[in-house]
């Protein structure tokens, strides 16, 4: 099992959800957690104007997606997120990152199921 943590642009959330749904939804629903995050990579924040004075925000705003996956779904999910989150065909600085980390355990609270069945 793997945990995918992807940081993407706010406006790419819908396309990414759409792509993930197309590969992960097998009759019941697929599972996803999102949260707003701030930070910076090569890019810094946008320039805003405060009473005519330009001020650059220190952090950019992004959305972070977390998905727990069984191993065979990991590659398709990575490709789906890349398809959905990339700006244009070539992509742009600031499109985000995907981190994949091993997932020790997964428990469905309602039933107590563990492991791959609980994902």
């Amino acid at each position: 099992m793997k945990l995918i943590i992807a940081i993407i642009r706010l406006e790419r959330l819908d396309p990414v959800q759409h792509e993930l749904q197309s590969i992960l939804n097998e009759g019941d629903n697929y599972r996803l957690t999102i949260r707003p995050v701030e930070g910076h990579g090569r890019q810094h924040g946008e320039v805003e104007y405060v009473r005519g004075q330009p001020v650059r925000a220190r952090m950019v705003q992004r959305v972070e997606i977390t998905v727990g996956l069984n191993d065979r779904y990991v590659e398709p999910a990575i490709e789906a997120i890349v398809r959905g989150a990339r700006s244009g065909t070539a992509g742009e600085v600031g499109d985000g990152k995907i981190f994949v980390v091993p997932l020790e355990q997964c428990v469905r609270i309602r039933t107590g199921e563990r492991g791959e069945a609980a994902i």
């Binding site: 009473r51 005519g52 004075q53």
Partner: protein, 421 residues
């Protein structure tokens, strides 16, 4: 209650003055919201409490002795005094104010709201780093030693500027010049916020602009009481035609100010901003304050628009000079008040004609005298009070408190907790 004087009360004027007093009080929460939206999340409570603190503290000061100092019998034109006014104990409910057809208590309350909002305006310059305790003490001393005398000079019969014919309809000098120029002095004494870097434009972004817009809307609304309510002070015995004129000029200047600031910024940076429009509205309102019942609506249009331009330029200068007038109390109220006070001498048609409407330059000279006296008195007084407080209580919070945020470090509260619970 004395039935004969009660009969002389004009019900229309009295009703409007009661409403106006409440309007002006509503400007204080409006100002608190206007300022609070422009600071960072960690300082919202502290920023609002500067204004609410003035509401409570000066509300007491005014009834105990502030009113007596401002509107008691004139002592050589420089200060008022009347023991019967202390604690308002000598004012019978049926007693009328001077030659006006309204109860004196209504006038006391109306004027008291002006005394509250004026020091609250100053807080914008020192937001996010001034100690709350010191600010309260500053408010008390400033209201007593600067505001009350100045209100007496300009508005009270016998006041030396009043007797010279200086026009200040609703407080261009008494409220806006005094608070704006004092704000500049206090901002210099307190020093820059740690995170404010002049030149790069600073690194402090507003945390909630919708809050600022709501505050600006409440200010605009309350300003109708501020200006049109002031008609009773200049029109005897009732407030009628002049109140209507002041209402119309207030609306006109506010709209023109908002429009002009928005267009300037649109042209300058390519985008019309909400903060710009709100700032322009306030600049227009500030400028028309001394002129409201003395100029035509068309003149008010010009005054509001020109002042928005002047204030926009003044705010840009801040980065060049490097002082941290955090929320532009000087840039908007000081500069806007000065432009308005002078413009009154150019455009007034009643009770005298200004320089641009067929009169001579006499009234303009009087306006310059009033503004100059207000600036000199406010800046000197604020410098003395500020230096005294710096030496005794200290003006600033510690660097650690400033980084943590004033809300938690000074008030033990946060404005915002988790978004989920």
């Amino acid at each position: 209650m004395d039935p004969t004087s009660a009969q002389a009360i004009d019900s229309g004027s009295t009703a409007w003055m009661l409403a106006s007093a409440a309007f002006v009080l509503l400007m204080v929460p409006g100002l608190a919201l206007f300022y609070a939206g422009m600071v960072r999340r960690k300082n919202i409570i502290a920023t609002m409490l500067y204004s609410y603190g003035a509401m409570a503290l000066i509300g007491v000061q005014w009834m105990l002795f502030g009113y007596a100092l401002a509107f008691g019998r004139s002592v050589n034109g420089v200060i008022g005094w009347d023991p019967a006014l202390l604690g308002l104990h000598g004012i019978e409910p049926g007693k009328l104010f001077g030659d006006k057809a309204i109860p004196e208590l209504v006038f006391v309350m109306f004027q008291g709201k002006f005394a509250i909002i004026t020091p609250a305006l100053i807080s914008g310059a020192v937001a996010e780093r001034m100690r709350f305790s010191t600010f309260l003490m500053f408010c008390f001393l400033w209201a007593t030693f600067i505001y009350c005398p100045l209100a007496h000079w300009v508005w009270a019969p016998g006041g030396w500027l009043f007797e010279r014919g200086v026009l200040d309809f609703a407080g261009g000098t008494v409220v806006h010049i005094s608070s704006g120029f004092s704000a500049l002095v206090l901002a210099l004494l307190v020093g820059r916020r740690l995170d404010y870097q002049p030149g790069s434009g600073g690194a402090v972004l507003p945390h909630n602009l919708p809050m600022t817009l709501l505050g600006a809307g409440l200010l605009w609304f309350g300003w109708f009481g501020f200006n049109a309510g002031s008609a009773v002070a200049v029109e005897s015995p009732v407030a009628g035609a002049t109140a209507g004129l002041a209402f119309a000029t207030t609306q006109t200047a506010a709209a023109a100010g908002g429009l002009v600031w928005m267009l300037i910024e649109w042209w300058h940076h390519g985008k019309p901003t909400s903060l710009g429009m709100a700032s322009g509205v306030v600049a227009g309102l500030v400028a028309v304050t001394p002129a409201a019942g003395h100029v035509t609506p068309l003149s008010a249009l010009l005054i509001g628009g020109v002042t928005a331009l002047a204030c926009y330029l003044a705010v840009q200068l801040k980065a060049r000079f490097g002082y941290d007038d955090a929320l532009d109390a000087f840039g908007v109220h000081g500069v806007g008040g000065l432009v308005g006070a002078l413009a009154t001498g150019l455009f007034c048609f009643a009770p005298v004609a200004g320089a641009l409407v067929g009169g001579g330059w006499g009234q303009f000279g009087k306006q310059a005298l009033g503004a100059g006296a207000g600036i000199a008195f406010a800046m000197t007084g604020t410098l003395l009070i500020g230096l005294a407080l710096k030496a005794t209580m200290g003006l600033r919070v510690t660097a650690e408190q400033e980084r943590e945020g004033l809300d938690l470090s000074l008030h033990g509260e946060r404005g915002y907790h988790s978004e989920l619970i």
